[in-house]
């Protein structure tokens, strides 16, 4: 199990989702990735992408200008 970071700041959706997908494809089930974004659309899109593709949202934080989303890679 390894922890990873993804910087998706200044990207507009769906780019944060695409970058998340590309990152997750390189990881193993159980690995985690923390995504930092600025587009509020990511608050909806990344969880939706995780739901349809079998990954788990660990937490979501909305700070002043940044959104931080933790994802655990699923087994599917």
């Amino acid at each position: 199990m390894t922890e990873h970071q993804l910087d998706a700041r200044r990207m507009l959706c769906p780019m944060p989702v695409i970058r998340t997908q590309q990152k997750v494809e390189q990881l193993q089930p159980g690995d985690t990735v923390t995504i930092t974004c600025t587009d509020p659309g990511a608050l909806h899109d990344i969880p939706a992408w995780c739901r349809v593709n079998g990954h788990e949202i660990l937490d979501m934080q909305q700070l002043d200008d940044e959104i931080i989303i933790g994802v655990r890679v699923g087994g599917g």
Binding site: R10, G41, V52, N53
Partner: protein, 347 residues
């Protein structure tokens, strides 16, 4: 027990692709979705930028459709490869700079590559004969199948009965009798099928999901190409065409004026790439200068910026100018009066 056949569905987020995928799912086929991101997709961007739109739901319709269907969705970045389609469409453009037929051929070809890599059996689209004037006509259906290389592995469940049987039908992977024979621009058959499937909510029916079908956007893209003497573009170029007021006061430069707080914030991210200016004596917009602007041009741009500031009726407005060489200075200018800005400056 034999593994079910596997199909990938091109999911735009609209009603037709939702229905096409469900029709095939109902025949026991394993369906996954694929959605291509060209950079011109309307989805999300302007909602994310403009403050006034931020209260609206920021749903990605393709993801929403995938959730309704209970299928996986693969979103594929085709921004770079897609440039050639936009710049050099073999079949030409539609009413605006929309290369719809080349676009469809390209997407089906990409889907073909995907199914070969993932060991899937065939491709589904939500195309309906006669639905779209350029890409969805009886004559173009075989063009898409042939030029994409998908040939008879391309199945259009909503209009299959109007077409020759595809391999999935001939081989009995799917039952042709349970497919449909929709044609024409009417949406009624799709809406009836949506009701039959229990889909009460769905995104705006086909079309309207690509900025290239928008006349104003296409005008701005054409201006960009003309001013640069080339059709090449980067993602930032096409993103900026979606934001702000674009005015070209002189052939050598144009200005992008933020219209509200959200756009101002978005354009701030481009300050290092563009000469830019903003009022300091009054509240007002950030303005990016795209092109090679001399001193007189910057003064003109400053007067336009002042016109869009809260100092529009003041005698003088202070404008801070930052040039790409890292220097900055302040100009005091008289705001242009709105009637003094020629209409043909607006792109």
């Amino acid at each position: 027990m034999a593994q079910p056949r596997k199909a990938v569905a091109l999911i735009s987020g609209g009603l037709d692709s939702l229905l096409a995928a469900r029709v095939i799912q109902q025949q026991g086929i394993h369906v996954e979705g694929i959605n291509f991101y060209t950079g011109f997709c309307v989805e999300g961007h302007t909602h994310a930028i403009r403050k006034k739109d931020q209260a609206k739901p920021k749903r990605n319709n393709a993801l929403w459709v995938a959730e309704q269907l209970g299928i996986k969705l693969h979103i594929v970045d085709i921004i770079e490869e897609y440039k050639d389609i936009v710049m050099n469409p073999k079949h030409g453009y539609g009413a605006n700079l929309n290369p719809c037929l080349d676009c469809k051929v390209f997407m089906v070809r990409k889907a073909m590559e995907w199914i070969e890599a993932k060991d899937f059996d065939f491709i589904i689209t939500g195309e309906v004969i006669g639905q779209r004037p350029m890409s969805q006509r009886k004559a173009t259906m075989p063009v898409i199948a042939e030029e994409s290389g998908a040939e008879d592995l391309l199945l259009r469940p909503l209009c299959a009965k109007n077409l020759a049987a595809s391999k999935p039908e001939r081989e009995g992977w799917v039952d042709r009798e349970q497919l449909h024979g929709f044609s024409g621009r009417s949406r009624k058959p799709q809406m009836a099928l949506a009701t039959e499937f229990g889909f009460e909510e769905y995104a705006q029916p086909a079309g309207g999901c690509c900025f290239l079908t928008d006349a104003k956007y296409s005008d701005k893209l054409a201006d960009l190409w003309q001013s640069r003497g080339t059709r090449r573009y980067e993602l930032d170029d096409i993103m900026l065409l979606k934001v702000g007021r674009h005015l070209r006061p002189r052939p050598n430069f144009k200005i992008i004026v933020a219209r509200e707080e959200g756009e101002n914030k978005f354009l701030q991210g481009y300050r290092k790439q563009f000469t830019h200016l903003f009022p300091t004596s009054h509240l007002g917009p950030l303005v990016l200068i795209d092109g090679d602007a001399g001193a007189a041009d910057l003064e003109l741009a400053s007067r336009i910026a002042a016109r869009y500031s809260q100092g529009r009726d003041a005698e003088r407005v202070d404008i801070e100018i930052h040039t790409l060489d890292g220097n900055s200075r302040t100009l005091q200018v008289e705001p242009m009066r709105s009637g003094d800005i020629p209409g043909d400056w607006y792109l």
